[in-house]
């Protein structure tokens, strides 16, 4: 009870006293000392932004336990999600707020992985002349990155069955690894694998002879 609400009661019965105190409590409920407004409830934030490398814009859906879903489809579209509530309608987050909130995370973003596509001359294990020239470029790129890590993945087109294509992709990836190691790459940085016919560069139906799909992808991260 605040000091402004002191009350003196003379000769009051118990009953009146009780009623009197009830009224008193109601009257003296305010003014409370002016408290600062409560901070906004902590929220999760989701912001859709253009791709850092090519500027294209994707899409994202944000769902919560109640089943409510909000879709983000515009540049800088953002939603706030407070526990137990529906996500806020998408609104563009101003650039300066993005910078204030996310600059540190954005500054730590790694360089995009760099990818090299190497092709074999048809029917053999010889690289095309263009692909031969990529080998020293790959070595230079690896040298220019801290903690570089290289993956060499063989791919085929959809001619033939998927099992033999997986093996063919692996054989070609190993050939590229050998070339890169002789050009100076350390083995410990290299991972070799095959995606066979399951990761086509140019989508085709099954059993389609497509030279652009018969490649080895070297990715430097």
């Amino acid at each position: 009870m605040s000091r402004f609400c002191r009350l003196t009661i003379h000769r009051a019965s118990r009953l009146t006293l009780a009623v009197g105190l009830g009224l008193l409590a109601a009257r003296c409920h305010h003014p409370a000392p002016q408290a600062p407004p409560p901070p906004p409830a902590a929220a999760d934030l989701i912001v859709l932004v253009p791709d850092p490398d090519d500027g294209t814009l994707g899409r994202a859906t944000v769902g919560v336990a109640s089943g409510a879903v909000v879709e983000l489809a515009e540049a800088r579209a953002s939603t706030r999600v407070v526990a137990g509530q529906t996500p806020s309608a998408p609104t563009p987050m101003p650039e300066d707020e993005i910078a204030r909130r996310f600059a540190d995370a954005q500054a730590a973003r790694p360089l995009p992985p760099q990818q090299f596509l190497l092709y074999f001359q048809s029917g053999g294990d010889e690289l095309t002349p263009e692909s031969v020239q990529l080998v020293p470029q790959i070595v230079t790129t690896v040298a220019g990155r801290p903690f570089a890590d290289v993956s060499i993945i063989g791919h085929t087109d959809t001619t033939g069955d998927s099992t033999s294509n997986a093996a063919l992709g692996a054989r070609r990836a190993n050939l590229i690894r050998d070339r890169l190691v002789s050009a100076g790459l350390a083995l410990g940085q290299i991972e070799v694998g095959s995606h066979g016919e399951s990761n086509l560069l140019v989508p085709t139906a099954d059993n389609v002879n497509e030279p652009r799909n018969r490649r080895v992808e070297v990715t430097v991260r």
């Binding site: 901070p39 906004p40 902590a42 929220a43 999760d44 934030l45 989701i46 912001v47 859709l48 932004v49 253009p50 791709d51 850092p52 294209t56 994707g58 899409r59 994202a60 859906t61 944000v62 769902g63 919560v64 999600v81 407070v82 526990a83 996500p87 993005i98 909130r101 996310f102 600059a103 540190d104 995370a105 954005q106 500054a107 730590a108 973003r109 790694p110 995009p112 992985p113 903690f147 890590d149 993956s151 997986a166 992709g169 991972e191 694998g193 095959s194 995606h195 066979g196 399951s198 990761n199 990715t219 991260r221």
Partner: protein
């Protein structure tokens, strides 16, 4: 340094961290941030594709990789209050932000 599914990435008050996953997914964390890599599978040859991560606290810059291209429905990002489906490519995420 190799990351495994189930690992948790954490930064301190003056920390930052950037990682690139095998499929080209890039994650970078601001200070006081925690991210759990709940599942990661990138083996297109046997159709094993998936990525689930949870932003437990702090702020994250996320750029999707090949998994999101090959199997968009297999990519999920969780925050304490929501689940995000990704159709490419670049999101900024904050958990329990003022």
């Amino acid at each position: 340094m190799a990351l495994q599914q189930g690992d948790v990435l954490r930064t301190g008050a003056d920390g930052k961290l950037g990682v690139t996953l095998k499929d080209g997914t890039r994650l970078s964390l601001g200070p006081n941030t925690e991210v759990a890599l709940k599942s990661f599978a990138f083996s297109p040859a046997d159709r094993q594709l998936g990525f689930v991560m949870s932003v437990v606290k702090g702020v994250v810059d996320y750029v999707s990789g090949r998994i999101a291209k090959l199997a968009p429905d297999a990519v999920k990002i969780e925050t304490p209050t929501s689940v995000i489906g990704v159709r490419g490519t670049h999101l900024l995420l904050g958990a329990a932000q003022p």
